[in-house]
């Protein structure tokens, strides 16, 4: 069993989908998809006066974004960041309570966020995604935020610190760069 944690607003989680699904298909892995609310920040503006820490965070954010765009292009994706990172909590809460295969909903939510910058915290948007995906959702949209709170607490207790994150054989891996090791574990 492979557990995969994701957040729709995480560029790393978005770019991990194709290689992760390829691994899952190749090895026939059973997967449990779970939500994890990440903290995404816009690139801080260059201030007139900056501490070393502020400068570090600005340069790091710009670098991470540039690399995400670069590797997205390798996948044929033109990655466009929204002006401000969106809130995806409602869609993540829904993901926590989908029964059966949530993949159609996950794909729809990722595409909605990254292609049209849809508000995945909006009831109508998430309801439409559920309808389009055809997944079996027996929860209540009005209680989805609470479902996310529970899932988030469980994930943090398990030691998850970001997304995409993977748990296999009780080992936690954060980031798709670990897929070679995950594959090794899965095939051992």
């Amino acid at each position: 069993m492979l557990i995969v944690y994701l957040d729709f607003k995480s560029p790393g989680a978005y770019l991990a989908m194709t290689p992760t699904l390829a691994l899952i298909d190749r090895l026939g892995l059973e997967v449990d998809w779970k939500p994890f609310q990440t903290i995404e920040r816009d690139i801080p503006k260059l201030g007139k006066e900056e501490t070393v820490g502020e400068s570090h965070r600005r340069v790091r954010a710009a670098s991470q974004r540039a690399l995400a765009i670069k590797y997205a292009a390798h996948q044929g994706i033109e990655l466009r960041f929204p002006k401000q990172p969106g809130v995806t909590n409602l869609a993540l809460g829904v993901l926590a309570e989908i029964v059966g295969d949530p993949l159609p909903f996950i794909r729809g939510a990722f595409n909605a966020y990254w292609e049209v910058h849809a508000n995945l915290n909006d009831l109508a948007v998430v309801h439409a995604l559920l309808q389009e995906s055809g997944v079996d959702y027996r929860g209540s949209l009005s209680a989805a935020h609470e479902a996310l709170d529970v899932a988030q607490a469980q994930a943090e207790d398990a030691g998850i610190v970001g997304a995409p994150a993977y748990i296999i054989e009780e080992q936690i891996f954060v980031g798709r760069e670990h897929l070679p090791w995950i594959e090794e574990i899965a095939t051992s």
Binding site: I39, V52, S55, S63, Q64, L67, K70, H74, V174, P180
Partner: protein, 224 residues
């Protein structure tokens, strides 16, 4: 010296006190050997408290901490665990440090070896990194760094003068250039216009340096 310019096909910035640089050393040296080229290795001495807060440990327990919330602590702990397991795959031991070290002298040692005994650089890294991460080296003591140079087969005569003179000046000349040029951590690889943070870019670097045959590879921590 300009931080983005070199005659070498690749510049790599490392810091002795970084666990992520530690686990990148051998894979990057292996890439160098595989490609039959010499990269330009340079120091980037991290100012960790400025962006991660600071902490001091004694006998494995945190006795002082500043500027770190629970989420930061969790991320730091994960980072160490992650680096440790990859180090173990390389047959290396990685113990969490008891304090944030000043690695300037050991990093100036990289410049010294690059200038005086380039072919011994891998030996210097082996003399410094593994024992430091076993908590066996006081890298703030210049005599310790000199002993590492000697152990690596590098002539340490003149290093003290270099450390306080030309080497220190070169090291200090690089530091203020990093952020304005888009570099913030280690290991950082500078490949033409690409600034790549992390050893997960090694597959891409190999692809670039071997003629870009086939599709560009994704990021990956390669495993032996």
């Amino acid at each position: 010296m300009h931080v983005l310019k070199s005659e070498a096909p690749l510049i790599i910035y490392v810091d002795v006190k970084s666990p992520y640089a530690f686990v990148a050393i051998r894979p990057t040296l292996a890439l160098e050997a595989e490609l039959g080229v010499q990269f330009e290795w340079r120091p980037l001495t991290l100012d960790i408290p400025s962006y991660l807060g600071s902490a001091e440990k004694k006998e494995g327990k945190v006795v002082a901490s500043k500027g770190r919330n629970q989420r930061t602590w969790n991320a730091i702990r994960y980072s160490y665990r992650d680096a440790r397991r990859y180090a173990e795959r390389q047959g290396l031991m990685l113990k969490g440090t008891e304090k944030i070290w000043d690695s300037t002298i050991a990093n100036i040692g990289i410049l010294w070896v690059m200038q005086t005994a380039r072919d011994r650089l891998g030996d210097y890294f082996e003399a410094v990194y593994p024992p430091f991460w076993r908590r066996e080296l006081d890298i703030e003591d210049i005599s310790v760094v000199e002993a590492c140079l000697t152990a690596a087969g590098v002539d340490a005569g003149g290093f003290a003068a270099f450390e306080s003179g030309a080497g220190r000046a070169l090291h200090d000349e690089l530091q203020p250039q990093f952020h304005p040029q888009g570099i913030y951590g280690v290991p950082t690889y500078v490949l033409g216009d690409d600034i790549l943070f992390g050893r997960e870019h090694i597959p891409y670097i190999r692809w670039r340096l071997t003629g870009q045959k086939g599709p560009a590879p994704d990021i990956a921590y390669e495993i032996a």
